[in-house]
């Protein structure tokens, strides 16, 4: 591999990493602002303008607190838990296509860390690993509430992964590609998957709520039953990592939802905008500005879903644990299988019929 290519890749990956972290950081601020708005109060407003420095103040507080490890805890695994949670949360951002390409001196630089022909499988694998951070941390705490929280989290993640995978299969049948870049490119011109897969989208978003341990499925940290769930024994930055990993997961899953169902960086009228920009500013600058607009649209969609997570958190009460399991196994999985059957029939019979009729 030549050095320039390597440097470009490094810069892209570091940028994607940094961007994910900053967005997760400001999600904590946004969460409290949204909570304040919904509950008719002002939220954080002391540190900086509109409380904008609040995440920094929180991080400072977390770092300076005493780093405590319980006497009977398994020391190494107690530290490994939050580290694993952060690691798996950050891994998934590598394959997300944030935009089309930049043209710099005749080179096309894709706005994506790694373009891989197994993109969505990679994301799925990383999501499946997300449960280890919680399980290891919960067990190592040597506390029965932590252990119960960890076990709840693990069984919930495994159960909802099945329905999530099945709802993805319907998308893959339509796109016949596992690459995220390819899936986005196919949705060009308002061919967004949400119009073809409304049921799949609902299943997917429900499962992503469960995978992120967010309300209404936040039973692993249900205070009324489990004190604090898997992070009962944690304090200082180790607790901070667990909470932070949740926000990173939220952003990643929002980005994946907008890539899979809402066309990623595509927006209506993008060809017209592209032509105008190229005509007035030349092929290089015009192309780059068009790409930037697409990236902004992508972030708009992803951040809308982050907002949606918060909106739901302050609107819907928590499920009971048996209700959660029944929803996952007895409702979502059969629905996802029906969705696959319908999609298969539509791809086989309906699509040729409509193409023939349109011609």
């Amino acid at each position: 591999m030549d050095l320039v290519e390597f440097l470009v890749k490094t810069v892209t990956i570091v940028a994607v990493f940094g961007l994910t972290l900053v967005i997760a950081m400001y999600s904590t601020w946004a969460e409290r602002k949204v909570a304040g708005f919904i509950q008719d109060r002002s939220g954080p407003n002391r540190a900086g303008w509109g409380g904008l420095l609040q995440p920094l103040a929180d991080a400072g507080k977390m770092f300076f607190k005493e780093d405590f490890i319980p006497a009977l805890a398994n020391k190494w695994l107690f530290i490994a838990g939050p580290s694993l949670a952060m690691l798996t949360a950050l891994l998934a951002s590598a394959v997300i296509p944030f935009g089309s390409t930049f043209r710099i001196a005749g080179h096309e630089v894709p706005l994506q860390g790694v373009e891989s022909n197994i993109g969505i499988l990679y994301v799925f694998g990383v999501v499946a690993l997300g449960v280890y951070g919680i399980m290891v941390g919960g067990w190592a705490s040597n506390n029965k509430f932590s252990l119960l929280g960890a076990i709840r989290a693990a069984s919930q993640n495994i159960s909802y992964e099945v329905a999530m995978g099945l709802s993805l299969i319907a998308i893959l049948m339509m796109s016949s590609s596992l690459s995220l870049g390819e899936i986005v490119a196919q949705q060009h011109g308002m061919n967004w998957n949400i119009f073809y897969q409304p049921l799949g989208f609902i299943i997917f978003i429900t499962c992503s709520f469960a995978e992120c341990n967010r309300v209404p499925f936040d039973l692993p940290e249900c205070e009324t039953e489990l004190v604090g769930g898997y992070h009962t024994e944690y304090g200082s930055m180790k607790l901070g990592f667990y909470l932070f990993a949740e926000y990173i997961n939220m952003f990643i899953s929002s980005a994946i939802i907008s890539v899979l169902y809402f066309g990623g960086y595509n927006y209506p009228g993008m060809d017209f905008v592209y032509e105008q920009l190229v005509k007035s500013l030349g092929t290089e600058v015009g192309h780059n500005i068009a790409t930037l607009i697409g990236t902004a649209v992508f972030f708009g969609k992803a951040l809308f879903f982050v907002f949606f997570y918060m909106w739901v958190r302050w609107t819907i009460p928590r499920f009971r644990y048996d209700q959660l399991m029944n929803l996952g196994w007895k409702k979502l999985i059969p629905l996802a299988i029906i969705n696959i059957l319908i999609t298969g029939a539509a791809v086989l019979f309906l699509k040729p019929a409509i193409t023939a009729w349109l011609n």
């Binding site: 398994n74 197994i118 499988l121 499946a128 690993l129 449960v131 280890y132 399980m135 076990i151």
Partner: protein
Amino acid sequence: MNSAVSFFYFLSFLTILSAVMVVVSRNPIHSVLYLILTFFTLSGHYILLNAQFLAAVNIIVYAGAIMVLFLFVIMFLNMKQDQEEAKTNLTKIAATIVGGTVFVILFGAYRKTAIEPFNPQTYDSQVGMIENLGHMLFREYLLPFELASILLLVAMVGAVLLGKREIGERHF
């Protein structure tokens, strides 16, 4: 030595080390975690062989699902180091003989196996890619593939039947 070969040696070292640690660790949770590390390094080997689909599926199925269940059961059983029952000398001798025999068989098989020489003209580096794998599975090996899926379905139905609560049984 080029970078791929040195990376291969590094990965192999890591694989063998973590596999040995699975056996040597006293704490069963540590064993499970080392086993997960072993699966990761095996996935690394698959990627070196350009079999990306196999690498991803290995992570999803083994590291993502099966090992979580292993960890689950071990955590519930709450095995402590001091509760481990002492092994008698007879068990130790029997285990050594069995392990040694397996090693001798594997070594003999390895020595007798003729590895097909690598031919750059006929070798297709894209054979592990998902499109080629799909064509292979659904054209040439369709019947075995479907039979395997039916076998899995039967196993799944059996598991559900075993786990089902019978009429009149107590609700906990």
